[in-house]
């Protein structure tokens, strides 16, 4: 999200999902919505039924890739090279939107100079995508009236994740495909409240609503409302806290509803960090790999047991309503208040609606949101005032950067942190399947889902399977420089030769023992989508 924030101003999807059926051209990049976001895929399928052209950038032959007009089967980690190459084709052919570039952007000359280095020969070599496909994808995208780029974690979960998102913004800006209905960039968020969790400030360098800590006015506002002097020192990201813990310099963490010991990459290091803490509190609804390391475990309340709101990937704030009483008696918001009060900072709210009122009073983008309004209408932020209708399309007029102009970013191809070699010849991509969700703690408790998908399967191409003399259902060991797991094989053409795929839903086969320690230096997002492994019978 930092990528879009740098290029356009806000780290958020630019349009509404409901606009998707009207798009003329869909560029789906690093996203498998038929499995990871099935309801979004219904919108996209409707667009396809309405005749939209489809270009898919994905190393896996997904449902969408099978139906694409052009499938860009790029090598994992070569996103920037491919996007630079497409921009270069567009500029060479004169397919760019000059008026948009002149009026609404800055930094075009730097971009132009940079992408010149990415001629078709070079790009074909770096990405493995044929020249013809690159040209055709660039033509389809630049010529469309309403073109939308939809991207997923295949873009962001790389060490160049932030830059990948910027490269996507470059492509959209060159063609002027932003700021209109059904035309823009949609980032599909992995978890239910990723957007809300970013919006509301559990971030080490900004206050709720992306208000910079360096902004004195914002700081004074929060200091006044909260009655304390706030630290001006930028805090530590989660990965940094864990690194410092390993060094013995960080002592206590309160973890609310996360499972870094299963879902973070290179989890042996994470486990070491958690064990080095003097005091670890974990609040969760189930025992996880992380709770094993805790000193105190607090029971969490599931979404069915509390009132609140979630913000979805299109910035829509929606109510969560209590259907049953919290199984353990308290919801997380009550627990946080009680600990704060015990530590000498009294916090008390009678109902989450009062917390939302405080959010609205301190966070301009949520300024007009209240539970009373949400009973009657559905609002997308920015919604600054009580009579504001919310915003479906961002940047119709100005970008939310200083000066209102979007910025082109000149980017270099860096590739993945770890590439295959003779010892570890395969690239491992991780992701989800439709039936399960993340660490699996929720879906694995549905007997029906477990009946359908009971275990992890390594997806491998028939060509590779033949080379390794393995067949469907064989048990193999997959190992990387960091760890080793045993897993059954599924031979499928969804994986291309050289690439294999695993989910991260099953603690019996922890794929994150294998994933690499490389991460995006800007956001800290780990490179889940690419690491080198070997496969042995």
């Amino acid at each position: 999200m930092a990528g879009l924030a740098t290029s356009l101003g806000a780290g958020a999807a630019t349009n509404s999902l409901a606009q998707m059926p009207d798009i003329d051209m869909l560029f789906l990049f690093g996203s498998n919505p038929t499995e990871a976001h099935p309801i979004v895929s219904f919108y996209l399928k409707k667009a396809l039924r309405n005749g939209a052209k489809l270009v898919v950038g994905d190393p896996r032959k997904t449902w969408m890739a099978r139906r694409a007009d052009v499938w860009l089967n790029l090598r994992p980690g070569s996103n920037i090279a491919l996007l630079n190459g497409m921009v270069n084709v567009i500029l060479q052919e004169g397919w760019e939107n000059r008026e948009f570039i002149e009026k609404r952007t800055e930094g075009f000359e730097e971009l132009k100079k940079k992408v010149k280095e990415y001629d078709l020969e070079t790009v074909e070599k770096l990405t493995g995508v044929s020249k013809g496909n690159i040209i055709e994808a660039a033509r389809l995208y630049s010529h469309a009236d309403k073109a939308m780029i939809v991207y997923g974690l295949g873009v962001t979960e790389h060490q160049t994740g932030t830059e990948n998102a910027m490269a996507i913004a470059n492509l959209a800006l060159v063609c002027g495909h932003l700021g209109r209905p059904s035309t823009g960039i949609m980032a599909l968020r992995g978890q239910n409240n990723v957007q809300g969790a970013s919006d509301l400030g559990p971030l080490p360098s900004s206050f709720p609503g992306y208000q910079a800590m360096s902004n004195t006015g914002a700081r004074e506002k929060f200091e006044k409302a909260w009655g304390v002097t706030l630290s001006t020192e930028i805090g530590l990201k989660s990965v940094e806290m864990l690194e410092k813990a390993c060094e013995g310099k960080f002592k206590g963490i309160f973890i609310l509803g996360e499972d870094p010991a299963q879902t973070d990459p290179n989890i042996n290091e994470v486990r070491k960090a958690l064990d080095s803490l003097e005091f670890l509190v974990v609040q969760d609804i189930f025992h996880t790999e992380t709770t094993k390391h805790a000193h105190v475990i607090l029971p969490g309340a599931s979404f069915a047991e509390k009132d609140g709101t979630f913000t979805n990937g299109e910035r829509r704030v929606q109510r969560v309503r209590k259907a049953v009483e919290p199984i353990a008696g308290k919801a997380e918001w009550q627990v946080i208040c009680e600990i704060a009060t015990r530590m000498g900072y009294p916090m008390s709210y009678r109902h989450p609606s009062e917390i939302m009122d405080e959010i609205a009073s301190l966070t301009p983008i949520y300024g007009g949101i209240s539970y009373a309004r949400l009973e009657k209408e559905s609002l997308q932020w920015p919604c600054p005032t009580k009579d504001h209708p919310g915003t479906t399309t961002l940047y119709t007029d100005l970008f939310s950067r200083p000066g209102g102009l979007a910025k082109f970013m000149a980017l270099d191809h860096k590739g993945s942190g770890e590439t295959p070699d003779s010892e570890y010849p395969y690239v491992l991509i991780t992701g989800r399947v439709r039936e399960h969700y993340n660490n699996g703690s929720m879906t694995r408790r549905s007997p029906g889902i477990m009946e359908l998908v009971p275990e992890e399967l390594l997806e491998i191409n028939a060509e590779d399977a033949m080379k390794l003399k393995i067949k469907n259902g064989d048990k193999v060991s997959v190992s990387s420089r960091r760890g080793k797991i045993k897993v059954k094989v599924k031979v499928t053409d969804r994986s291309q030769p050289g690439n294999v795929f695993l989910t991260f839903h099953f603690p019996e086969a922890l794929s994150n023992l294998l994933t690499s320690e490389h991460k995006d230096p800007i956001t800290g997002t780990p490179e889940y989508k690419s690491c080198a492994v070997k496969i042995e019978k």
């Binding site: 099935p38 978890q191 969790a197 979630f310 199984i327 353990a328 039936e435 009946e451």
Partner: protein, 354 residues
């Protein structure tokens, strides 16, 4: 009046509607109820069941409201003797090949066919003849299909092919023996079905029902709580159906702004974790290698003491908090506030980057 608007009369009342709207849509906007069985707003207009037949002035036959677009100065009558006679006949024909066992049917109370039979006073005794006697299909974890209760409206087929594009079900057989089924009538498995339950969500009768909710409560015994799904970031709304303090079923909210009643396997069928026996039910405190149950007071006192102690001993920069994109906005805001006002640092982060 702009080019996009047209004026028509429904039952003598003039209304303004959008050009391109069907009579059914215009009538609904004006608050006029027209019965339908084969219509679902999520699907293309179909005109299969003919229950929505209406009279249009100047047209010598009845027209289906669900597929007929409005036109300027159109005058529509939605209730008349002829219309009632036709609707009765249709419902009667449907009931002539229907088990009519409402007393033990899962759908009773929210069944469109039952409602129509009630509305038009039809009991199914008018016509005799052959009835289907087909096996009930339930060799899968989620969906029970009793083809004998099917009214062949085609909604399940259309939602599976138009919306989900999974192609699991289509018409099989010929003539009287035509009904929706899987290819070669094979049991549903992951190789032919996504188990999204979209077919169940659109079925107007008890032909397709959720296996897991079967026998868990009649519709009037259930409290429906509208909420937002806790899985991916799409933000689908649905109803949690609660009986005796337990979530027994998830059902579609057709008015939801994002998903219009559509759901996937996780949203519709992945709710058992809520009442799983594995849930952590009390605070737990570590003693050596094992955990001991504690009261909230014990646990929260200990947490407050420990963090206060760490801050005193190592300084306030030695502690921090992780928040989660699984938690609500309000909880994320509070944990951000907590780190800043209680820990007095900015060591707070969330897994949104992960």
């Amino acid at each position: 009046m702009s080019d996009h608007k047209v004026k028509i009369k429904i039952n003598g009342t003039e209304i303004c509607c959008n050009r391109g709207d069907t009579i059914l849509k215009a009538a609904r906007m004006a608050g006029v109820r027209i019965p339908t069985l084969c219509h679902d707003d999520r699907l293309e207009p179909y005109g299969g069941c003919r229950l929505c037949s209406v009279e249009v002035k100047g047209v010598p036959r009845l027209l289906p409201a669900c597929t007929t677009p409005v036109a300027r100065k159109m005058e529509v009558i939605t209730e008349s003797e002829t219309i009632t006679r036709i609707r009765k006949r249709i419902v009667s024909l449907m009931l002539s090949n229907h088990p009519n066992d409402c007393m033990r049917c899962e759908k009773a109370g929210e069944c469109a066919l039952q409602d129509l039979a009630y509305q038009y006073g039809v009991d199914g005794s008018e016509y005799g003849g052959e009835r289907w006697d087909l096996p009930i299909r339930q060799a899968n974890p989620f969906i029970v299909y009793d083809p004998n209760k099917c009214v062949t409206c085609g909604r399940c087929i259309r939602i599976c092919n138009e919306v989900v594009m999974a192609g699991t079900i289509d018409w099989v057989g010929r003539g009287f023996h035509t009904y929706p089924d899987t290819a070669f009538r094979k049991p549903r498995s992951l190789s032919n079905c996504e188990f999204c339950g979209q077919c169940v969500s659109t079925c107007p009768t008890g032909a397709l029902i959720d296996k897991k909710g079967r026998g868990k409560g009649r519709v009037n015994e259930l409290t429906r709580v509208k909420t937002t799904c806790g899985y991916c970031g799409t933000g689908c709304n649905f109803f949690l159906n609660v009986k005796d303090g337990k979530v027994v079923k998830v059902t579609s909210d057709y008015d939801a702004p994002v998903n219009h009643g559509n759901l996937c396997i996780k949203g519709r069928y992945g709710y058992e974790f809520i009442h799983s026996a594995d849930r952590i039910k009390t605070p737990l405190i570590r003693r050596g290698d094992s955990f001991h149950e504690a009261t909230w007071d014990e646990a929260l006192d200990l947490i407050a003491d420990k963090f206060t102690g760490l801050i005193k001993k190592y300084g306030n920069k030695s502690v921090g908090a992780f928040s989660s994109s699984r938690c609500t906005n309000e909880e994320n805001f509070l944990i951000a506030k907590f780190a800043r006002t209680v820990f007095r640092n900015n060591n707070v982060d969330n897994c949104a980057r992960v």
